[in-house]
């Protein structure tokens, strides 16, 4: 199984499209950080204008943590797209290339094939988020240094001491891997259904956007549906920036994400197992 996963990872990283995500982050994050280095004080002042009427601020809130926190918020749309680029191609790409006939006539079970592809997709997701973390925090540290983190959540202003932040980010990025894992699983499911990677990419993104729109509209029916939409939990990483941390909610969100991943993978596996390979 390890061998199969290694093969899948090798194939993933031999394709140029895999590097789009890493390059995009390598360009976008520095651009954001450089821009914030120059103009970030204005943004911070704007965000804290009410508070600064009553308080004098001393110190540098414009640091790697603030910037990385802002960047993590791009998890709603930008990063999912980069995930689907690869996850959507994992199975459909074989159909397009005609290589299903090659690999599925090997003496290895379809379950192992589909599992190894799925795990490779999750590993890619992890590596992409890890890259995001390294570039955000690492470059941010070089440009802006560290400091305290001011976070606005639910009408509360929270300031985290310098030594109380990094572990929160590690857990937040960990949760981000989980929520992006759901995105990867959804794209993987669609990839099992079709013979072209474009379909899974567009469909997955469409679903995410539609779910986000439904969640944002303040209509009773939609608000009832909201807790059942996985996009409602994609932002749960920010719960690690609460005082105190609501462990119950985090565990609940984690289980929901894991449940989605398991369910979507299960369905994809079943479809793949039963599929007649006609390409």
């Amino acid at each position: 199984m390890i061998k199969l996963i290694n093969i899948e990872l090798y194939k993933i990283f031999k394709k140029w499209r895999t590097y789009i995500g890493f390059i995009a982050i390598a360009i976008l994050v520095p651009v954001i950080e450089f821009a914030l280095q120059i103009e970030g004080h204005k943004s911070l002042d704007f965000m804290t204008r009410d508070l600064q009427q009553s308080f004098i601020f001393v110190g540098n809130l414009l640091n790697t943590y603030f910037v990385s926190y802002l960047i993590l918020n791009s998890l709603s749309v930008h990063i999912p797209f980069l995930i689907t680029l690869v996850a959507g191609d994992l199975l459909a790409g074989e159909a397009t290339a005609g290589t299903y006939r090659l690999i599925l006539t090997r003496p290895v079970s379809r379950m192992k094939i589909v599992s190894s592809k799925f795990i490779a997709g999750i590993i890619y997701t992890f590596l992409l988020i890890l890259w995001l973390a390294i570039v955000s925090l690492g470059l941010g540290y070089l440009l802006l240094g560290t400091g305290e983190l001011m976070v606005f959540r639910g009408g509360i202003i929270m300031v985290f001491a310098k030594n109380d932040i990094l572990w929160r980010f590690l857990l937040a990025y960990g949760f981000a891997v989980l929520s992006m894992g759901v995105v990867a699983s959804l794209a993987f499911l669609f990839s099992a259904l079709v013979e072209n990677a474009i379909g899974p990419i567009i469909t997955t993104m469409a679903i995410i956007i539609i779910f986000l729109i439904i969640s944002a509209i303040n209509v009773d029916l939609f608000q009832t549906i909201k807790p059942y939409l996985f996009t409602s939990y994609m932002g749960s990483w920010s719960m690690f920036f609460d005082k105190p941390i609501d462990t119950y909610e985090i565990v609940k969100s984690t289980l929901i994400m894991l449940g989605h991943i398991a369910g979507l993978f299960g369905l994809a596996s079943y479809i793949f197992y039963k599929k007649d390979i006609l390409t």
Binding site: L102, L104, V108, L278
Partner: protein, 307 residues
Amino acid sequence: MDSEKVIEIENLSKQFKDLKAVNNLNLNVYKGDVFGFLGPNGAGKSTTIRMLVSLIAPTEGSIKVFGKTLKQHRTEILSNIGAIVERPDFYGYLSAFKNLEIMGKISGKEISKNRIMEVLELVGLEKRCKSKVKTFSHGMKQRLGLAQALLHDPELIILDEPTTGLDPQGMKEIRDLIIYLSKEKQKTIFLSSHVLYEVELIANRMIIIDKGSAKVEGNVEELLDSKNVRVTFEVDDLEKTKLLLNNTLWIDKLDTAVNGKLIFNLSHGEAPQLNKYLVQNDIMVGAMIPTRSLEEYFLNITQKVSG
């Protein structure tokens, strides 16, 4: 037949929505056979082959390979099958060598670098082993397809149109390779091909299918009765020739005379004798063309079905 059965297909059917692509097919392939699997386009050949290598699940019937049911012993059976299914496609962004290496690893067997080079040499691709497959011609991909089928030295080799896209030299090389694998290595070959004379040359048993069902199955020589050959003579004066032959035994062997052509059913060796007789009697013989007997047999069988 005393040889053990390598492939046993019983009452095999495959229904796709409105189309029954394979309909109650039965066939047997014995150890050491070079088995010709023939049929017109849309007969169900590819569907049958895909079921044989478990790319498609049958709707009804059973497939046994090496005496074991495919459904229950899939992995074990596939470890001893090498197959080209339709057009061989590879990971174009990887080299030929790398593609084979990956196929070897997926198979779970330790395929050494030497073995990979050995099969590449066998199909004439050793010099292009490092080239990316996307730079290969169709013929080269065909060869590479054959290489991946032979990689793990399987007992049963399933070849779906293995010579498509090859030049005559290439076709001969593949033919010779198949004969070598059959005779020297005692491999069982399941060969689907449109190149009928090839099948006639190398297959010992064959089946013709049409509309998903078997039309005829058996020993090639017996089916074709190839002691008799149909030969077409092109002559300058058809009437004169007919008149000449009327009072000879050759007239019994004449099948058709039209448009300056006379078609005879001749035994082996009679064609030059007839040619000599005609020339000696001042008949100008423009051409002497033997008709491929399998082609005719095939057309007869399949036209009977459709007609």
